[in-house]
């Protein structure tokens, strides 16, 4: 009995720790950082205190800089992602449906996928200039590959048993594709979309940093603040990017669960 209760209590403590420790670790980290900067008297140019960053962040929110640049960046991210998602899923499905398409696409994917997409930036700037088209193309091209590869893998890995069962119940080839193969691939497609979203965010911000002429977006804000040594602004932008990135990814996971609840059985 006593042992059981002790075990139960230990379990309760464990659960409490699971809840509290993640937040506590963040709070401790920020407090430690603040103390370190104050005690050692470090120049804000190198490492500003969290309190100073917070002040700058608040100012940037109040004067609208943050909302504008974040809005622009988010729009670009969603535009790039949408292009990659539509083309990537479409090609992945086509590859799954046709051996010829798969064979042809496979050669191109094998050649282009390992190529660092950032290395295309000079070419894209020559062709498209440094406007919106260049940023959307570079991010879409990068996100396209994980999406198409995951989609195709999902389509190919469809359980043979499900296909046979559908066939046995009288489904024709087209019905098997639409009602079995594509729905069965949805968890894989979502996995590809997650990877795609991650690289879209990276590429858009990077393109904003390199493009130069755009004068807008979180990447521009970062590089600009860095060049004039406003380190507080750099950190404030980083904090916003991290938080917004986390929100976007969480929203995506939430959508997945809404659209494909069967794919997350163990979460229930």
């Amino acid at each position: 009995m006593r042992q059981g209760r002790a075990k139960g209590a230990a379990k309760g403590v464990g659960r409490l720790a699971e809840r509290i420790l993640p937040i506590a670790s963040v709070v401790l980290f920020v407090l430690g950082w603040e103390a370190f900067v104050r005690v050692r008297g470090i120049a804000p140019i190198f490492l500003p205190a969290p309190s100073a960053i917070a002040v700058y962040l608040w100012r940037m929110i109040l004067d609208g800089t943050m909302a504008y640049n974040l809005g622009v960046t988010l729009l670009r991210i969603f535009a790039g992602f949408a292009v990659a998602a539509v083309t990537g899923v479409a090609l992945g499905v086509l590859m799954g449906m046709s051996r010829v398409v798969a064979a042809v696409a496979d050669v191109w994917i094998a050649a282009l996928y390992p190529l660092p997409k950032i290395s295309l930036i000079p070419l894209l700037i020559i062709w498209l200039g440094t406007g919106e088209a260049y940023r959307i193309v570079i991010s879409a091209v990068t996100a396209f590959f994980p999406i198409v590869i995951s989609t195709y893998a999902g389509i190919r890995q469809t359980d043979r048993g499900l296909i046979k069962a559908a066939q046995d119940l009288g489904a024709n080839a087209r019905q098997i594709q639409l009602k079995v193969v594509i729905p069965a691939a949805i968890p894989s497609i979502f996995a590809g979309l997650h990877l795609g979203m991650g690289v879209t965010i990276i590429l858009i911000v990077a393109a904003e940093m390199i493009g130069g002429s755009s004068q807008s977006g979180m990447g521009y804000l970062l590089i600009n603040a860095g060049q004039v040594m406003e380190t507080e602004k750099v950190f404030a932008s980083l904090v916003v990017l991290a938080v917004v990135g986390a929100i976007v990814i969480k929203l995506q996971q939430w959508t997945d669960r809404l659209v494909a609840p069967w794919a997350h059985r163990d979460d229930r």
């Binding site: 359980d159 046995d168 119940l169 729905p183 069967w262």
Partner: protein
């Protein structure tokens, strides 16, 4: 509907060195309205046989004919008169119970109102009323098995092909499902081909037990089970059941030993 299997041979990986003869000149007439159990060691080709009968695999040689005893000369396409129930169930995990059950009607183009009405009736008949909108992943093994059964029964095919449908169930659920199947069979008198490796199950359910040899699968003996119907689980204790069990057990023991020897030989060869 009779299922007439004539000289069916199935060879996997034909021509290569890894060639495996799964079925070897298998011939049998599964009679209309009878419950036939195919019993044999793993790898004897019994699953392959029902898939050939269902038109889902093509035999290397030999033929399967579906014969309407009333019109024996009429050629019927394979698969059109039968429906499978799988050991792996093969339910569509993204479809609700009712959409799984109605799948066969949906692909046939039957309007939603009608197919849902029919699916609801069948779901109720297998005891799953109230679970129509659940996903398969939210159900227990036994309930999922009932969905699979309802999905097959809604097709109203005269031949039911069952490939070890209860093998993955726990002992209690298995008993309940066997009774359910007996009730359905005794009410509808479909032609049933039931694959199993459980002797007791084969005798309890079947009108005949087709005992198969280890690979390559041939018929070793066909045992007629003349226990009265309706069958009930209590019959397992009767002396008649015991005698049938012993006879089948001796036949199958030889084959299981042979199958194990084959596996040993394959393991040591590789």
């Amino acid at each position: 509907m009779d299922v007439l299997v004539e000289n069916v041979t199935q060879v996997w990986g034909g021509g290569s060195r890894a060639e495996v003869v799964a079925l070897d000149h298998f011939s049998h007439r599964f009679r209309s309205g009878r419950f036939s159990c195919l019993l044999g060691p793993s790898g004897c080709g019994k699953s392959t046989l029902v898939q050939i009968v269902g038109g889902l695999e093509r035999a290397t040689s030999g033929a399967v004919r579906i014969e309407d005893p009333a019109a024996p000369s009429l050629a019927r396409p394979l698969g059109a008169d039968s429906v499978m129930v799988w050991q792996t169930l093969n339910l569509f995990p993204w479809r609700s119970v009712i959409d799984n059950v109605a799948f066969g009607l949906e692909v046939r183009g039957i309007p939603a109102a009608e197919r849902y009405a029919r699916a609801r009736t069948l779901i109720a008949s297998v005891g799953l009323r109230g679970f129509e909108s659940h996903l398969p992943g939210q159900l227990s093994g036994g309930m999922r098995q009932r969905v699979a059964l309802a999905r097959a029964l809604i097709m109203e095919r005269p031949i039911l092909l069952m490939d070890e449908p209860f093998a993955a169930l726990d002992a209690q659920t298995k008993i309940v499902m066997q009774e359910e199947l007996l009730r359905i069979f005794e009410a509808t008198r479909k032609t049933i081909l039931f694959v199993t490796h459980a002797i007791e199950e084969a005798i309890l359910l079947g009108d005949e037990v087709v005992v198969m040899t280890a690979r390559p699968g041939r018929i070793k003996e066909v045992i007629a089970v003349d226990l009265p119907r309706p069958r009930a689980l209590e019959m397992v204790g009767s002396p008649e059941f015991g005698a049938l069990f012993d006879r089948t057990f001796h036949l199958i023991r030889e084959e299981v030993t042979a199958a194990m020897r084959q596996q040993d030989a394959m393991a040591s060869a590789s």
